[in-house]
Symmetry: C2
Subunit: 358 residues, 2 copies
DNA sequence: ATGAAAGCGCTAACAT
DNA sequence: ATGTTAGCGCTTTCAT
């Protein structure tokens, strides 16, 4: 229930700018309304809501109770004009088509809300780059920018940090710059995939890569190849893909087929699902009997019985928590703000060992 | 590239509040910076950016060019304090787990950006209701609230409208109140489903309903039953479901099985996919040979070959466009702001006619 | 058409 | 601990 009562301006209140006056008697309360009611100054109202401020507990209690009763809450917009902190975090992301990103956004915005922030969404149209959104962000006094699964140029990263705003990369790193970032251990995930393939009797391992220009994909590829070398196995085949989409995965499987792999590691789950589709429907082969498949992300659908996809599980909740925690790291801090979370292998049917199924 | 140069305050500028002074020489430009540079007043800068304002074309051109060159853009936050219009729209939604909602959010935020708005996300935790978010919204001076696939009490709707803010329901209606809303024609969709089942030789039609308390589901059910009656067919069975999830669909199919339906209409695609899963994996029946299936929403996965789900397609782009258009309907307008978009049937393999497959 | 000045609601330095 | 006051950056009368 909103309480928004009409209050006549007290005598000592300056004549309001009529153009700005609400056209309606029903108004949202201001600090002045509460202050007048209690016979205190507006500063006290402000202090009551600011944990650091020096104010007697009794007064704070009195104010908070009155505020609660009237339904008063400080106007974040006005407050942000003086403090330059808006309690708004810009979240930049591309498409939500990949359920993984949808999950990220959902949990991120929820966690941010828990920490007292709201998320202002900046959706990149296909082909649009993050840098282009910057001028718009600046207009909104956002406290920080969280960039999900997209990259920025280091020049921009610099400009941003200089402008006093925090930039956090989620699921990406900027290799040569100390830009705060939260990732899962992509290399480790790829290594787990190799080891699991080998342990379950696979010999001809292929890799369906994602977008070449993303750090995520580069790391997954690096880990996969490195581990292959360590265990003394050769890469059977590899294909690149422009979009990391279901269709890309589908096509990737078809392109890998001539190399006759008995196991394919896809750079993400959505591609893996497309790959399974192609393997079963178009190549007329069986998963896992003929080709074992591992994905990456552990999206909800990977667990659906139809797919039962073995995949690499990034600890999303912890990653999101890290990202939010990074928001409150003080500016000059020397601690490393490039956080990497370990991943785990989730074994499902798409990698049933040879011995059992064959 | 951000241009944020250090500008020394001109002599006539009052001593700034030191607490608010940037701790860095590199600053974001204010209207004053541009004004001083051009030797005009800040009012003129403001007017240059306001299409309605009276300003000579020459002056506007001069200012806009300078602004462009310097990278100045008006601060939305400061501006919203005077105008009470923030160019921010609150988007309230529950979980993004259902890909349909992810699609809605993506297109909605994109369309809003196109219209000069940004979306401030309010994510409802499970069990949390929209009304509870209101006090938070008020803090942000949002211009409007778009509520996606969730409902509000009519009391709150009233309070909101009275507070001078626009409320728009997306994919829901409030039956007894003229709250602006954008929906697809749920009844028509359900009718199309019945007709298609009948036309393809099905006789025992069942319905897997969604959440009882949503207008969307109520309308789909109403349409389904009404059309069944019109064509003289009886409902074979019906089950309710609490969450509209994949698992709900799975369970629904199992519960409907004893009634031996040869066709099931699911209240949405995600449930339908779960249903297909249960039918094939657990009941060991075939889709569409034994049971035909129709969903609702036309999520991307419905088109994947594994499922190839016949479904009802809501014209999402047009719905989103309608929602954004509603933002600019003037307050006192008498035009009906409850918009309903027609849907279409997308025929895929899950409803292959009996004659062909049987 | 333009400038001066007041004010949006809140915060913080300063004074008591 | 509390009140007073001067801003935050922009918009909008009001006067010219």
């Amino acid at each position: 229930m909103v309480i928004a009562i009409g209050i006549t301006h007290s005598a000592n209140h300056r004549k309001p700018n009529m153009a700005n006056a609400p056209r309606d008697a029903t108004r949202i309360l201001r600090a002045r309304d509460v202050a007048d009611l209690l016979g205190v100054s507006t500063s006290m109202i402000s202090r009551a809501f600011n944990p650091q401020a020096s104010i007697s507990p009794a007064m704070r209690k009195r104010i908070m109770e009155a505020a609660e009763a009237l339904g008063y809450r400080p106007n974040v917009i006005a407050s942000s004009l003086s403090t330059r902190r808006s309690k708004i975090v810009a979240v930049i992301l591309g498409t939500l088509e990949n359920p993984f990103y949808a999950q990220v956004l959902e949990r991120l915005s929820r966690e941010l809300q828990g920490a007292g922030y709201q998320s202002l969404l900046f959706n990149l149209a296909p082909g649009q780059d993050v840098d282009s959104q910057l001028p718009y962000l600046l207009q909104y006094n956002v406290d920080a920018v969280i960039i999900v699964s997209a990259s920025i140029s280091s020049g921009i990263a610099n400009d941003w940090t200089n402008s006093g705003r925090k930039v956090i990369l989620f699921n990406r790193t900027l290799p040569n710059m100390p830009v705060p970032s939260v990732c899962c251990d992509n290399q480790q995930g790829a290594r787990l995939a190799v080891d699991h393939f080998v342990a379950t009797g696979r010999e001809r391992l292929a890799f369906a890569a994602g977008r070449r220009d993303t750090s995520t994909n580069a790391e997954r590829e690096l880990g996969f190849l490195a581990r292959l070398a360590e265990v003394g196995t050769k890469l059977a085949a590899k294909v690149d893909n422009p979009h990391c989409s279901f269709r890309d995965g589908y096509n990737a499987a078809l392109k890998l087929a001539p190399a006759q792999p008995d196991a394919i590691f896809f750079a993400n789950d959505v591609m893996a699902l497309g790959g399974v589709e192609a393997i079963e429907k178009e190549l007329k082969l069986r998963v896992p009997e003929d080709i074992a498949v591992i994905g990456f992300d552990d999206i909800p659908m990977a667990a659906w019985p139809t797919y039962s996809l073995t995949t690499i599980h990034p600890p999303l909740d912890e990653m999101v928590a890290s990202a939010v925690k990074l928001l409150s790291v003080p500016e000059g801090s020397t601690e490393d703000t490039r956080i990497i979370h370990p991943v785990t292998l989730v074994v499902r049917d798409s990698t049933q060992p040879r011995e059992i199924t064959g």
